[in-house]
């Protein structure tokens, strides 16, 4: 009897221990290493890092921490501009995605069951299709002699081909295009859960459809809106592929800066510093949002 209780406890520990240990070793520890290395300085060696721990001439262990990465990042307007631009691009993209995604999600949730399943599948299909290839598709479409310019020229809207590629416009387009399914899915499940009789009740009480939408539907789907916005905003801030393929050399985004510091300049400590600051930015953002949300819950 006692042995069985013991065996059950052991089994539980094993079941929990495997994924827990994995996440600690391969997720938490790496983040701590990033944090540590952000206080190091580059060195011409492999790996190109000055070790934090070293032995001095008298065999005493020394810990050397450099704050230079942080002072450098904060002092250089290039990095600050990259942070600011990332947040700006992510915010505008999120807003655009919401404006396009909400009516679509609403439409899908309110069609007949047959259509709903088909449309739902059509939303998740791009999600399963290669992200890289979907971004790539726009390179062809937007290029100087691509179909968009060709159509516009033929219609006489423009007289010379527009430079669409390598612009901020292309980055926004790519962002909205890539992240639209992430916005639609949580919105869809929030709208679908909404009891249609609530809208009937609002209509019965004399509320016009537009007003009912703003007074009933929108507030009751606010959680879906929040989830969708987070799912778009957070990855958009750190996005690398879209600005790298569609943006111009002037499109400074934090993911791209980190990538370049790491791969092109081989400055691992500086890249780590950028990573730590990005992480702090995102964590701060989520914490503020959670606080707002919990205050809302309390006030309700």
């Amino acid at each position: 009897m006692r042995d069985q209780v013991k065996a059950w406890r052991l089994g539980r520990r094993l079941i929990l221990g495997i994924p827990y240990a994995w996440l600690i070793v391969f997720f938490l520890v790496p983040l701590l290493i990033v944090f540590g290395i952000s206080f190091s300085t580059p060195k011409l060696s492999m790996p190109p890092i000055e070790p934090l721990l070293s032995y001095g001439a008298d065999q005493v262990m020394q810990v050397r921490l450099y704050a230079s990465n942080y002072t450098f990042i904060i002092g250089d307007s290039l990095y600050l501009a990259a942070f600011a631009n990332s947040v700006k691009v992510a915010l505008i993209s999120t807003l655009l995605t919401l404006l396009i995604g909400y009516p679509m999600a609403y439409g899908i949730a309110r069609t007949s069951a047959q259509w709903r399943n088909i449309l739902f599948l059509l939303v998740i299909l791009p999600f399963f299709t290669s992200f890289l290839l979907r971004v790539y598709a726009w390179i062809g479409l937007l290029s100087r002699n691509g179909p968009i310019n060709a159509i516009l020229l033929k219609m006489g809207v423009i007289h010379a081909p527009l430079a669409l590629l390598q612009t901020d416009f292309a980055v926004y387009l790519g962002m909205v295009y890539s992240y639209l399914p992430f916005m639609i899915l949580p919105l869809y499940s929030a709208i679908e859960k909404l009891d249609p009789s609530l809208l009937e009740a609002a209509a019965d009480l004399g509320c016009r459809p537009i007003k009912a939408f703003f007074r009933v539907t929108l507030p009751l789907t606010s959680e879906g809106i929040l989830a969708g916005c987070l799912l778009v905003f957070i990855p958009a801030v750190g996005e690398y592929v879209i600005p790298a393929l569609l943006g111009g050399p002037g499109t400074l985004m934090i993911g791209r800066v980190l990538w370049d510091e790491f791969f092109n300049n081989r400055d691992w400590p500086l890249a780590s510093g950028v990573a730590v600051l990005t992480l702090m930015l995102l964590v701060g953002f989520v914490v503020v949002l959670q606080r707002v949300q919990s205050e809302k819950v309390v006030s309700e």
Binding site: W8, G11, I15, L16, I18, P19, Y20, W22, L23, I24, F26, F27, L28, V29, P30, L31, I33, V34, P47, I100, P103, M104, G107, I108, R110, L119, L121, I124, L125, P126, T129, S130, F131, L132, L133, Y136, A137, I139, G140, L141, S143, N145, L180, P181, S197, L199, P209, I234, V237, G238, Y240, V241, L245, G255, L258, F263, W268, S272, A275, L279
Partner: protein, 282 residues
């Protein structure tokens, strides 16, 4: 509520889906274009399959595809096991010490920017190699480990959602009839949550198959995955054989997702009907 949609919503639906699908469609059409200038339609020699033929003679692409497939399959299997275990702990173990950290660790990989995940994984592998000599160098193994770590989070979410609506009296009934906990899991729980486990596996496979950023950090010389190869080609501009490759991939994914999606939907509908039937009578 009538099923009629307002003209505005209908317009948005049509435009939205056009926005999602026209670029993919264009890519498919241009894959049959004879011109090397991918954006100009050569109406004399098109449509042609020559880019497809070229694709299957390109050993770089085939090697990269083979490597990507192997990594994705191993990763999906590992991530599914880890993620299912994690989901089980979260739903079934109630309050345990370290639960808050565990929740954070299972959700964070999904929201962490890929560049940071990739960088941190690389630094770990470098440090591990220095300290314990393993993993020696970087390649398929390090890519698989990195993919499993972020994919298991997705599997956890998918399986957790299914487990939390699982009728526990089914497991209690099996215990009551003399099955030990392990047996209950394999005879009752797993068969019933199987659709979500399969979805999780598929999701993990696709995420890994598609990943560029994390892979770029943790891959080594000689281990170039398909996304890495595509990325290096695309950076130099549009190339017609990539259109052909994209068409094949889109086609495969569509068939698999639609096929699995439909069969899972059917199974899920039947199972939920059965569960409903077993739970509440008519």
């Amino acid at each position: 509520m009538n099923k009629r949609l307002s003209p505005f919503v209908l317009t948005m639906l049509v435009l939205g889906f056009a926005f999602l699908y026209v670029p993919i469609l264009m890519m498919v059409i241009y894959s049959f274009n004879a011109s090397r200038l991918v954006t100009v339609w050569d109406s004399v020699h098109s449509p042609t399959l020559k880019w497809y033929a070229e694709l299957f003679e390109n050993s770089d692409i085939l090697d990269a595809a083979r490597l990507s497939f192997r990594i994705a399959a191993v990763n999906a299997t590992g991530a599914t096991i880890l993620g299912t275990l994690a989901a089980f702990c979260l739903v079934r173990f109630g309050k345990f010490r370290g639960r808050a950290l565990f929740i954070a660790l299972t959700t964070a990989p999904m929201v962490l920017p890929e560049v940071i995940t990739g960088l941190s994984m690389l630094l770990l592998f470098v440090a591990l190699e220095q300290v314990i000599g393993w993993p020696a160098g970087r390649g398929a193994l390090t890519i698989t480990i990195a993919h499993m770590t972020f994919c298991m989070a997705y599997v956890t979410v998918v399986v957790q959602a299914r487990l939390s609506t699982f009728d526990r009296s089914l497991e209690e009934a099996a215990l009551d009839l003399g099955a030990r906990p392990m047996k209950v899991f394999f005879l009752i729980t797993l068969p019933i949550i199987a659709p979500s486990v399969v979805s999780g596996w598929l999701l993990a496979f696709i995420l890994s198959w598609d990943d560029l950023v994390i892979t770029s950090f943790v891959s080594g010389p000689g281990s170039t995955t398909l996304p890495q190869l595509i990325f290096s080609k695309v950076r130099l501009g549009v190339s017609p054989d990539i259109n052909a490759l994209a068409t094949l991939l889109v086609l495969t994914v569509t068939l698999v997702v639609v096929g699995v999606g439909l069969s899972l939907q059917r199974r899920e509908r039947r199972l939920s009907l059965e569960a409903q039937a077993a739970g509440e009578p008519l």
